[in-house]
Symmetry: C2
Subunit: 255 residues, 2 copies
Amino acid sequence: MEKKICITFSFVGTAYCGYQVQKNGVSVQETLGAAAKELFGFPCDITGCSRTDSGVHARAFVATIARRGEDVLPTEIPISHVPRALNAHLPRDIAVKKAKWVSSAFHARYDAKAKEYEYLFYDGKERDPFFEGRAFAVRPISAASLAAMREAARQFVGTHDFSAFCAASPDKEEKNKTRTVRYAELRRKGDMISFRVAADGFLYHMVRIMAGTLFAVAAGKIDPADIAAVLESKDRARAGMTAPAEGLYLNKVFY
Amino acid sequence: MEKKICITFSFVGTAYCGYQVQKNGVSVQETLGAAAKELFGFPCDITGCSRTDSGVHARAFVATIARRGEDVLPTEIPISHVPRALNAHLPRDIAVKKAKWVSSAFHARYDAKAKEYEYLFYDGKERDPFFEGRAFAVRPISAASLAAMREAARQFVGTHDFSAFCAASPDKEEKNKTRTVRYAELRRKGDMISFRVAADGFLYHMVRIMAGTLFAVAAGKIDPADIAAVLESKDRARAGMTAPAEGLYLNKVFY
């Protein structure tokens, strides 16, 4: 069977221009590509599960590694050694957690059945240096405002046209804006509010616009009862702002 | 009443040569001093509760601010504005959380009745980029090893001569090496093991040597039943290594 390697890795996105190779700045993809070339001895194609923005983090990003232009990875290195061996060539803000063989036909992005993202709001009175660049710092959110955010988030769940929660993509525009959100939950833990959302797919900036909309709900600028109407309108201008990238984490990919 | 300002602040210690002003590298103390000078308009003395090592972090460090050479701080700035106003002059890895007026007689270090430190061991199979520089990465620790660490930690509790858990200080040597440990607890949370220890005072490197000793216990190099004998020996060579600074957090100061 023709095979390539599939890795699961986490990264702190602060120093990167995003996952995908860009003209400006260093991407996670090219950093992984350089490490793979060092380890396997030839140029590799790294195919990721998602194109995350500059500054976005990942706890379990998935990507495949194959020899450039082919869909196979010829190597004698035992698969169980691959995470540590790749990590030896990676900077400290990227870490491969797991590696396994997958068939050449597998595609990290197109075969994903669902993904879970998490968005962190930090609402402590003063900033927290340990969450610098790792959460969106907002004014204190009351219990009533959190309840309103929850009411709003519940309306994201289900199958909807998310045009109102989608920015114009720098890549080719997706025509079908309908996605199915499995869950959208808010939890407070100390001064941190976590918004976890899973869907069969996400449009460009979708989670960040959802988070920005919840932020507007907390600030009393959007009525949580209006979320259904915002979805219905398909009007980006009716949703909230695009919340900063630094609060966003790709948590999990389901295949 | 003669008064000065007492602040509580947190910092990520990675970029600093420690709390106290040193010949080499930037210290937290001088960074705070520069911010205080900017805010209050004159040079200030910053007196901290502790002298933490290079790379050590703090969640609630305490320090007083007074005009240089005096024990008073003349200012019209309302005390409730001080945290945010100081933060405006501080880098993102230091954040003032609280400020209050204290009497000129108050001393952040000598008046501390007890302190709590926390030491973080990360024992995930592969490294975690989110804890880079913020925990001591160790090999996976079994439930049995954790139980042994707990047994060892229990023996730190109480009043003991901690000479075996003390490094030669770069400052003046403290003659009395007897300290009272109030609690010494280990808790696992996912891939992280937290060691929290509170005492009426800590000798130079004491928590890091305690952590290094627990690490040696986990590795089977020190028998947990021998900790009492190690204390008794007053011999630094019988305790474990000095665990890396990056795992250490000053959590709380009790007055």
